[in-house]
Amino acid sequence: MNLQDFLLMRQELLLTLAAIIVLAAEIFWNPAKKKSVIFFAIIIFSLVTAAGMIPSEDGYLFGGMYISTGLMRLMKNILDIGVLIILVQSYTWLMKPENEERISEYFILIFTTLVGMDFMISSGHFLMFYLGLELATIPVAALAAFERYKNKSAEAGIKLILISSLSSGVLLFGISMIYGTSGLLYFYDLSKVFAGGSLQILGFIFFFAGMAFKISIVPFHLWTADVYEGAPVNITSFLSVISKGAALFIFIIVLYTVFPVIIESWQKTILVTSILTMTIGNLFAIRQQNIKRFLAFSSISQAGYILLGIIGANQAGMTSVVYYMIVYIFSNLGAFGVITAISNATGKENIDDYNGLYQTNPKLSLTMTLALFSLAGIPPVAGFFGKFFLFAAAAEKGFYFLVLIAVLNTIISLYYYLLVVKAMFINKNENPVMKFKSDIPTRFGLMICVLGIFLTGFASIIYEYIKNLSFGI
């Protein structure tokens, strides 16, 4: 392996190295100062993130099993930034006495899943893709069960691992059908011989179902709410943003490179699932009392909107999907950051508990409002731009009906987002969340999110940058 190869794979290799360093720290660090591992690990990870930003050339390794393009590196960088925010937000939670023992465990698991995601995104071969996918999934289940002394957390872990294995099995079954009909597993080779026979379409359906589990598209979404509710808040935000993002990224790449021949079949599939995902996600979100379940259903519906960018199979579509993921990372992490802060300070996780929050914690309420408005797509925050571009991409290919359904869904979503805003600003509460001051890392994490929510929208340069890297069919 020469330097050139190393540079191509630097994100994966450095992350692996980071995981090993944290492991070594766990062994050799002075047990009395275990807490300082948090800073150490976060600094290491920011270095990895920074190293990922260094521009480098495109190329492939291992005969095309591993591919690195500008778009893939961008996707990995987006995930890195998201994870960095989550790590900063986890600070207070990790400092709790019951988690102290397992600080390095947390970082090692997160780094490992991220390595898996990076490999998955960079894969040029179905086996490589599958390996990455598994590596990205299994540690997440361990993370979901991180608070194992809590029944709900353990339950979330076991649910996640069972569903993941099932969906991986389904996915693998689909891949095997594609392999059986063509004898090929390389994306590039497949794209040339893929003819769209009925067995191949069946294979695609299984592949789609497997991915739909990961992205939690209706009707494969049933695990989402339970797992999100049971897992610790930081892991929930990881699941809803990073896991989903990584799966969406590779899904769109595979769809555009391997399956362009059967575009009509998958456009129909996506049309139906997108409508279902948006509508059902939104309708269920209205009834939720627990704020984590609430955001779980909201994130399901968000996936439905993102499908609008995929369905057009055009360059604008891919651009808008990647762009929306950036917006979504900042917005959702902003909302989860507030939930984490409140959950850490008081342990409260119900929407009713947020009544009168503005009286006691105005800054947190404003951050939450901004994040929710961004999720709802209200200007001037970034979500408006993200949604507009998604819808424009679908409209470009004439899916006006789908756009209409989607915009009507944004109104439903606005209703329940406003319910939370109403709780914070308007509802009276005898016993509101007390006034508290969050520590510096939490505030820092929220500040990044707020800046991101504002700037991503106005900075057209980000959109143009992604546009130059994206491709369509």
Binding site: A316, T319, F373, I378, P379, P380, F384, F388, F389, F391, A392, A395, E396, Y400, V403, L404, V407, L408, T410, I411, L414, Y415, L418, V421, K422, F425, I426, S460, Y463, E464, K467
Partner: protein, 501 residues
């Protein structure tokens, strides 16, 4: 720095100022200064505009500033004004300025109140100066969303219900609008050419008629909801009656005009063929709005509800006039927007002031106010007379122009709807005079009323700022109507062009 962008920057600076102010009592002063500057700026804009036109500049939009924003989608930050937008900007500045003074007594969360109010105004100003559909839509939504908090927190009555209803209905309208705008964008140029959001570029190209037929209803209804188009007007009575004074003023006075302005600037201007084909449906709906609103106002007992229904009626008249699609009627529509904006703001301001004294808005519980608060009562009478279209005040000029224009259509259908709409004048007179009789005249019904103080200085500022232009337009309408009608010409030319083939 171009003059038009200042209309967005000054409110934003004012908001920053309000955030930075330490002493809560100074918040309203900062707001008043900021919006005062805005008012002066609007006056300057009018002078510059008139000077430019006198100097022989005949391009459709003046003071154009065009900055490329999202290059690959051809989204620009593009601003420019013609006579109509200048008039709307002047209206907005006056109403916002009066609104600040009308909410001088807000105690609860003062800072947040003025921030939301000015944010709303920013959206409105941005909307009127935009000539790019994307920014236009962005500002439209920006103007709607602060309304939720303004009504929800500072409102009265069933405020949470009203706030939610208003927000969802208006955002629902904007959802339709989004589809319409995307449809226009995708058909904004011959295939293969660069698509555009710029109104001035789109109008040079005739959008294919099939696309027009699909997207005109979306666009028109999208704007129509904000202009209280029947049967989508139901947010208006609830919203206006629950909103705090300044918000009712701004909403009925300015925000509802966004609907009328957008309907002709975007829907009719860019898709005149479909407008011509489909106008009969919307004419029926708007004439229902006009008459139904007026009848609704008769049946109400609450002052704010009366005024809200009367707004439905008057704003329905705006859309009605726009759909007549000839120069006289459309001129009348713009004058009506301005006239109604001023007088309804005046109404809501006065109702707020009366409510602040009597603590009731039910007309049956009040009486003889003319004796105890003569200043406010006389102003109320003036507003009422303007509303029922007395010559010498702005309402007369507007309604007269509209109906003259509407009668220029010789066919039976247009005649019938026009006559139906004209009946609203009589009905308007009924509810206005009835309120004046019960509320203001007669003996003082409640002994407590004797202690009332008449208008304070800030209330007078607010009211006079609104009455002056109402009277000015009524006495000398030619200033306004000549500005408007010269700007209306390109729009009329575009509509007339379709009759040729």
């Amino acid at each position: 720095m171009d003059i038009l962008s200042l209309f967005i920057i000054i409110p934003l600076l004012t908001i920053t100022g309000i955030i930075l102010v330490k002493d809560i009592r100074n918040v309203k002063k900062v707001a008043a200064i900021g919006m005062g500057i805005q008012l002066i700026l609007a006056a300057v804009l009018i002078f510059l505009y008139v000077a430019e036109r006198k100097g022989g500049n005949i391009s459709e939009m003046l003071f154009i500033k065009d900055i490329v924003w999202f290059k690959s989608l051809n989204i620009h930050y593009a601003v420019g004004v013609d006579g109509i937008s200048v008039a709307m900007i002047a209206l907005t500045s006056i109403v916002v300025f009066a609104g600040i003074f009308a909410s001088w007594e807000v105690e609860l969360l003062t800072k947040e109140f003025f921030i939301s109010l000015i944010l709303l105004a920013t959206g409105v100003f941005g909307f009127f100066i935009s000539i790019d559909l994307f920014t236009l839509f962005l500002f439209y939504e920006l103007a709607v969303i602060p309304m939720y908090l303004l009504i929800g927190i500072w409102g009265s009555g069933p405020k949470e219900y009203s706030a939610m209803k208003l927000t969802l209905m208006l955002m629902g309208a904007s959802a339709l609008l989004l589809v319409g705008i995307l449809g226009i964008y995708m058909h904004s140029a011959p295939s293969g050419n660069q698509l555009t959001f710029n109104i001035l570029e789109i109008k040079q190209y005739v959008i294919p008629i099939t696309a027009q037929r699909t997207f005109f209803p979306f666009t028109f209804v999208g704007f129509g909801v904000l202009g209280a188009l029947f049967p989508f007007h139901t947010w208006s009575p609830d919203g206006h009656s629950s909103a705090p004074t300044a918000v009712s003023m701004l909403h009925a006075g300015v925000l509802m005009k966004l609907g009328g302005y957008g309907a002709f600037r975007v829907a009719i201007y860019l898709m005149p063929e479909a407008a011509k084909e489909l106008s009969w449906i919307f004419l029926i709906l708007t004439s229902i709005s006009v008459v139904y609103g007026a009848f609704g106002a008769i049946a109400q007992k609450d002052l704010k509800y009366i005024n809200a229904y009367s707004s439905v009626s008057h704003c329905g008249l705006v859309l009605f006039a726009i759909l007549m699609m000839n120069k006289t009627a459309m001129n009348g529509a713009v004058i009506q927007m301005i006239s109604h904006g001023l007088m309804t703001a005046l109404f809501f301001a006065l109702i707020g002031m009366i409510y602040g004294r009597t603590h009731t808005r039910l007309i049956n519980e009040m009486g003889g106010l003319m004796k105890v608060i003569p200043f406010l009562s006389v102003c109320y009478v003036i507003a009422g007379l303007a509303s029922l279209g007395l010559p010498g005040l702005s309402g007369f000029v507007a309604e007269m122009t509209i109906f003259v224009g509407a009668f220029q259509h010789p066919d039976l259908f247009h005649r019938v709807v026009t006559i139906v709409a004209i009946t609203s004048i009589v009905i308007t007179a009924v509810y206005i005079l009835r309120v004046i009789a019960i509320l203001l005249l007669g003996p003082v019904t409640n002994p407590k009323y004797e202690n009332f103080r008449d208008a304070r200085w800030y209330e007078k500022t607010s009211v006079i700022a609104l009455i002056l232009p109402v009277a000015a337009i009524g006495m000398a309408p030619f200033w306004l109507s000549s500005t408007i009608s010269s700007s209306m010409q390109p729009i009329i030319d575009k509509i007339m062009a379709i009759n040729l083939f």
